[in-house]
Amino acid sequence: MSSLPVWPVLLPLSAALLAVLWPRRSAWIGMSASLATLLAVMLLVSQLIDQGPLTHAIGGWQPGLGIALRADSLAAALLLMSSLVALGVGWYATGYFSSIGRQAQFWPLWLLLLAALHAMFLSADLFNLYVTLELLGLSAVALAALGGGRAAVEAALRYLTVGLLGSMAFLAGVALIYARYGTLDMLALAQAIEPEPAAWTALALMSAGLLVKSALFPLHFWLPPAHANAPAPVSAALSALVVKAAVYLMLRLWLDLFAPALNPAASWLLGLLGAAAVLWGSWNALRAQRLKLLAAYSTVAQLGYLFMFFPLLMAQPAGAARDAAFGALVLMALTHGFAKSALFLAAGMIQQRAGHDRIEDLGGTARALPVTTFTLALAGVALIGLPPSGAFLAKWQLLSSAFALGQWLWIPVVAIGSLMAAAYMFRVLGYAFGPGDAVRHPLADGREEIPALLLALVATAILGLGGALVWELVAPGALQLEAS
């Protein structure tokens, strides 16, 4: 039994305590913990590549009676993304929050959020997932309200009530599963679940809860205000990581746990909602007046792509074609995670320097903040899906799967969505390169610009050129919980 799966949860959790105890040192504690967490995740990934999925039975009890942590390749890929994004966001936050008081408020909550994310990626127990969902939800809400302004608090409140309803629906599904199958252990459940009313109803309840949390159209209404009004590092984390967590759970439920009980046609509903989200989100991003609101609507659209993969995956038997589509889905999620966090950090940068983020008044930004504008452009490349970004490969694979399976509907959606993404990104860049003097305080301190740039580079270059590695890590065996 490997003890590695424990550390990505325990390190940020312990650091959160230290940050509460020593508020004046919180940034230092948080950054050290983020580095240590990344290290632990890298060790975990290397052991995973050698030995296959890792399990850690907490308390030494057999899963079912106790709770097991389980790291498979999907979990590992997401852990890697979140610990890298966390490092970038944390680095940025050390400069962004100017007073020690703000730092001391940010870091403990931020570390708790990280612990919750990692606990969710690693959990193999349905009720434990509920607890991680609540931890994630409450710490995210608290962070979103950190600005303290009226709009931020109002958005955080709506985020909280919606999130709580989602958790309740999820918990109701868990209760039904326990009533029928008598266990909460996901490995055992993957064997036990059959096509019957209890399984369908439980899946419907849990999915409803998760779709609210993952802001799939038309349940996305809470996301744009919450993400656009939070402090920039928090927006980055919410858009890049927190909504992704709910999508991750949807993947687990639909493709792992409930796959034997499902008619593939059911996943068309998710695909259609995803397609609608791409169009609706892109349209609103195009019309957005503020840069952060644009970024938030773009998240609604990008999440839509992820859901369009569901009917493609469910329609194929296990095998190379399906693995390729699955790899593309993960690549898409990772690329968006890096690109969107970079976009929000850059937007926060501009907002701090210019005093606002109204797109039409951004003239002169490119001259005053060249690195930040370059970051915007790089993030745009990834969001549009141009080569060499990871999203290009992912969309390519999405299209070819759609051709192969004759699911023609997705093809125009991808085309239109990409064109619209190009339009809204070029609109921003057009204003940024235009004449004007939006930014009156040029930059004195480079450390805030570097993390955003690095994140954007990962999205555009590393994931694109190294996409094959992600494929190899994720694809084989990622979808066979029951077989491993």
Binding site: S3, V6, L10, L13, S14, A16, L17, V20, L21, P23, R24, H56, A57, I58, G59, W61, L65, G66, I67, Y96, S98, S99, I100, G101, R102, A104, Q105, L109, L112, A115, A116, A119, F127, N128, V131, T132, L135, L138, A142, L143, L146, G147, G148, G149, A151, A152, L176, Y178, R180, G182, T183, P197, A198, T201, N229, P231, G348, Q352, G355, H356
Partner: protein, 324 residues
């Protein structure tokens, strides 16, 4: 035979009363009424837990679900002042449609549940827990699940509490204190607070073998803090901020330290060595009790106490990014 029927009538009455109180709490336009109905609902739920042979829950529900939630809601009502009171509940065709959908949903869920309970095996985890309880270090099965078999859930749950209270502290300074109590209330508080502390100690100790444990004990201590605050003590009997920070983190810290120490010794996370379970569980529970009590008390106070570490600037002077 007679006894069975009496029980069935009681069950029906309790169930109908729960639905009625729940209905009254969610549909009354007068918020003060809603809150009172909600507190009554919580107490009724405690009775139902006792009826369903879940005494641990009955204690927790009465203390937390009805007691502390009720105190929080009542304080919120008081803060809203005269403007509070009437809630605008949506009416019209949308509401009617929603009600119709609700009835459909309830019927569907009810059918699935009845069908499922008809074919499900009612043993579930009960036998396995019973078989392993002698290895858990305690004899109360609920404590065994919470502090041993599924201790990891409890660890994360303490993190949930911590996240909530940190979020509350970040929002602003504490609520204004209440005016000093009159002699009667003051006398009652003098008398009740030590009793509550004593009860908390008993519940913590008894949790190993009887209903009780860290959550119930922590809630009792928090109730003492609420009483003190209502009696005009602004700090609610809590120690100074440095110690508050220590207490807030004590529960998770105990879990983490024990867990890491055990892993260093070659065990799994929180795998207590044979013979040590009882002691370690009591140690963790004691720390957790203090943490839960402090967390709930600070959540009730509703903001940063005086002298709480480095101050963040107030909203009016914050960064540009927070002005929209």
């Amino acid at each position: 035979m007679m006894a069975t029927q009496l029980w069935q009538i009681t069950d029906l009455l309790l169930a109908l009363l729960a639905l009625g109180l729940g209905w009254a709490a969610v549909s009354s336009r007068d918020l003060k009424r809603s809150v009172v109905f909600f507190i009554a609902f919580g107490l009724l739920l405690a009775i139902i837990w006792a009826r369903l042979r879940a005494p641990d829950l009955a204690l927790a529900e009465a203390a937390i679900g009805a007691g502390l939630s009720g105190a929080l809601l009542l304080s919120a009502l008081r803060d809203e002042g005269e403007t509070a009171g009437v809630d605008d509940i949506q009416r019209g065709p949308i509401a009617a449609l929603l009600s119709l959908l609700s009835i459909g949903l309830a019927a569907a869920l009810a059918w699935v549940l009845v069908y499922t309970l008809g074919i499900a095996d009612p043993v579930r985890m009960a036998d396995e827990i019973a078989a392993q309880i002698s290895n858990s270090g305690v004899t109360n099965p609920v404590t065994a699940v919470l502090l041993n078999f599924r201790a990891y859930d409890t660890l994360l749950e303490l993190a949930v509490l911590l996240a909530a209270v940190l979020g509350i502290l970040a929002l602003g300074p504490a609520r204004p204190a209440y005016r000093a109590a009159g002699p009667l209330l003051d006398g009652l508080i003098r008398w009740l607070v030590p009793l509550l502390v004593l009860t908390a100690g008993y519940l913590l100790w008894a949790g190993a073998h009887a209903p009780g444990g860290a959550f119930q004990a922590g809630a009792m201590l928090a109730a003492a803090a609420v009483m003190l605050r209502l009696g005009g003590h602004p700090g609610a009997g809590l120690p100074g901020p440095p110690l508050q920070r220590l207490l807030l983190t004590a529960g998770i810290a105990a879990f983490a330290l024990v867990g890491i120490a055990l892993m260093a010794a070659g065990h799994a996370l929180l795998q207590y060595p044979a013979g040590w379970s009882g002691v370690l569980i009591l140690l963790i529970e004691t720390a957790a009790t203090l943490a839960i009590a402090t967390t709930l008390a600070m959540a009730y106070i509703g903001g940063r106490p005086v002298g709480w570490g480095p101050e963040a600037p107030t909203t009016k002077t914050v960064h540009n990014e927070e002005r929209n």
